[in-house]
Amino acid sequence: MRKSDSIIIIGSLMVVFAATLAVVYWPVFTIPNRPSDLWRPLTDLEERGRRLYIANGCTNCHSQYIRPQDWGIGAERISQAGDYYNQRPHLLGSERTGPDLAQEGGEHSDDWHIAHFINPRFTSPRSLMPRFAYEGMDNIKALVAYVQSLGGDDADARMEIQRRFHKEAVAAYERGPDENVKWLHSRVPKTWRAMPSESPATEASVARGEKIYQDFCIGCHGPVGDGNGPAAEHLYPPPLNFTILRRHLVDGKYIGGILYYQIMNGITGTAMPYFKKHLESAKIWDVGNYIMVNFINWRDDQLPTEGIPASYEGKEAAPVSEQPQPGPTEPGRGGAR
């Protein structure tokens, strides 16, 4: 072997080894290998779900680490090295075609996940996620167990709340539709109950609401608001039939505040997600107006409110005395006066 050859072969291999030592093995020995405050081991079922997650390449669309800048996904807990303790392989991911899942556990109820895995368009009409019905119910349950464990102890705390309210929600549902609505409304704080829609249900507002409804709600509550969207058969309690709300107007007239509050916060324990991360306040009012006008056949947006109208609302929010009394609207004619 000529000298120049050995320099290339042996010399360059030595550089590779040195680099491996420096940037791979040095970290192995210096990064403290201990669990973070919220780490916990997975159960067998969760571990099975994790295997399915790997087998189906979920990492190609989902990351599992939250960065400080991720305020869009509610960056309450920035991921730490210890969160990944003992995970083989790591599943940090490098692309977010779908949302980050580092703190997914407890964000949704189990039945939401089941409907979602069967067909993501059921719960999230604009989703790009593949259907996983081919895995069969058994595996889907394992996947659900796994995603509900993401976030460790924090996820468990959220799941605890989900389970507690799930019992209440089921009990209420089984008492009949009207009792159910009473229970639902009992969870809304008082000030929100006797509150009309704070944003006039103009034609434009209802049109915006319709778009939002189609992008977010239609798979569960259905195109006609009767709660019979394609997801419904997988959900218990099933999505609310909005039309019955007409019987439950607060003080015989208010519903806007309740809609807003429920859409914003979701109904923990049921498949109804919270939308405050997805939708800004004006959009929540808009979709509430859409539901009010089209499905409940009632509008309360002209009732007096305690607040000051936003300037853009103009004539719509003129002094109450000049406005017509609230009342039913013609179905399907959003916002027409």
Binding site: G57, I73, R88, P89, L92, R126, Y134, K277
Partner: protein
């Protein structure tokens, strides 16, 4: 004489298999792209599910197409620059067999739901073993060829070829954590560091030096001019090795890994401009005043444009390794755009250049149709420019929207048009791949014989 003993048969097998994998791989890309436009198109077909088929896409194009085709070129070129013959054709063919079996088994397993879940290292252990055996065989073959050479001087191309093969023989098993056959991984955040050590070096220490080696062979020949500087080539070689090996962590800039590791990776990402510059200066100066020669030869066109993509990639690369830039570009289609101009634009173009350049030498036949090479060139080029523009734009939209607090779900509808355009841009690339394969096969059987 049986085929596997024939001169240049190993080169031929690698080249043809590369052309086949290009077709297979781009179809897997097509399936992925269709999914992102119409997620219910392949609804409930397990093996065509996005998560699986995308991994098969990256595996097939990165290893099956680009790596194999570049190795094919190297097999032909190495003995020529050394003034000797290849140490062992059968061993080369055996390596091709192991390599292709590895990619095939790896891909089929991925589609069937057997994956190690680590990006670019998804292949299961048996596939890894086959591929490592292939690299060990290649190492023995290349090193022995070098040792037996007559030419006293070792031309830069040979440096790069041998380097790429022996480094990968180390990087591949280490990065794939092959001593853990069941998971193929370390535990926790350390595993991420291992993975990206692998993920970056499979690009930087395998396909990059192979492509550079092929370029160093072709440029002076096409330009009919001596290489501008042998010294620059050698500087480029050592600096590539010194810097590239350290920058895997720039894929983890925002992840919870030690800060010093991120700092080193960003600094060395900028330092990478040095080896890249040595290559480009060397090639372009060699070709100076003779660029017209590159435009009349279809193989040379691929090479020239490949070098331009290399320049673009490696200006983009250091910039988006900066933490402040990654705030916008990480996690979205921007990076996918970078991947395609890098792997297809730079290494893929040069792989094709190499193939068309050496094929007549191997088969004794002219390329069946130069016109089809030109057609393929334009198809792939147009598609790739489309990819780059569309994906970069989509990435910026995603990144900015997220930074403004929009949720991932809210941004999906905005991407629709871009995903459609990406699908459309992919079609010419696939057409190009098919035309290329057709042309290669026709050359083997119908190409006009070259009179010697």
């Amino acid at each position: 004489m049986p085929f596997w003993r024939r001169k240049d048969s190993a080169a031929l097998v690698f080249l043809v298999s590369g052309a086949v994998w290009m077709v297979v791989g781009t179809f897997a890309g097509l399936a992925s792209a269709i999914h992102l436009v119409a997620p219910d198109f392949f609804a409930n077909i397990a093996w065509l599910q996005f998560g699986r088929v995308r991994a098969a896409h990256t595996g097939s194009v990165l290893l099956g197409f680009v790596t194999a085709m570049l190795i094919g070129g190297a097999f032909y070129i190495l003995p020529r620059v050394l003034g000797t013959k290849l140490y062992s054709e059968p061993m080369g063919n055996l390596a091709a067999l192991f390599f292709n079996a590895g990619v095939l088994i790896g891909d089929v397993a991925l589609l069937g739901g057997l994956s190690q879940g680590r990006e670019y290292a998804e292949y299961i252990w048996p596939a890894d073993v086959l591929i490592v055996i292939a690299f060990l065989l290649l190492s023995i073959n290349f090193i022995t060829t070098i040792i037996r050479r007559e030419e006293p001087l070792l031309y830069v191309s040979a440096w790069y070829f041998v380097g790429a093969i022996i480094w990968t023989s180390v990087v591949y098993p280490v990065g794939n954590v092959m001593w853990h056959p069941d998971t193929g991984s370390q535990s926790g955040i350390i595993d991420a560091i291992f993975l990206w050590f692998y993920g970056h070096n499979i690009l930087g220490l395998l396909v990059t030096p192979l492509a550079v080696g092929i370029g160093y062979y072709m440029v002076p020949r096409i330009a009919r001019a001596p290489l501008y500087s042998q010294m620059l080539g050698i500087i480029g070689f050592w600096t590539l090795l010194a810097f590239y090996t350290h920058i895997g962590a720039h894929h983890l800039i925002q992840a919870p890994i030690p800060t010093w590791l991120k700092t080193v990776s960003v600094i060395d990402s900028f330092a990478m401009m040095l080896p890249v510059a040595t290559v480009l200066i060397n090639w372009w100066y060699t070709a100076r005043g003779r660029f017209s020669k590159f435009l009349v030869n279809p193989a040379a066109k691929f090479l020239l444009v490949g070098s331009i993509w290399y320049a673009i990639t490696c200006v983009q690369g250091p910039v988006h390794s900066l933490a402040s830039v990654q705030r916008v570009t990480h996690f979205n289609n921007w990076v996918v755009g970078h991947s395609h101009i890098a792997v297809l634009g730079f290494t893929g173009f040069i792989a094709l250049a190499g193939m068309y350049y050496v094929l007549p030498g191997i088969t004794g036949r002219r390329i069946y149709s130069e016109k089809l090479v030109n057609v393929q060139y334009w198809l792939v080029l147009v598609g790739l420019i489309g990819f780059f523009v569309v994906l970069s734009a989509a990435g910026l939209i995603q990144g900015q929207a997220w930074l403004n607090g929009a949720t991932v779900y809210r941004v999906i509808p905005e991407l629709k048009a871009y995903m459609v355009l990406r699908l459309v841009s992919g079609l010419p690339i696939i057409a190009g791949a098919i035309i290329g394969l057709y042309n290669v096969i026709m050359t083997l059987f119908r190409g006009e014989l070259i009179e010697s």
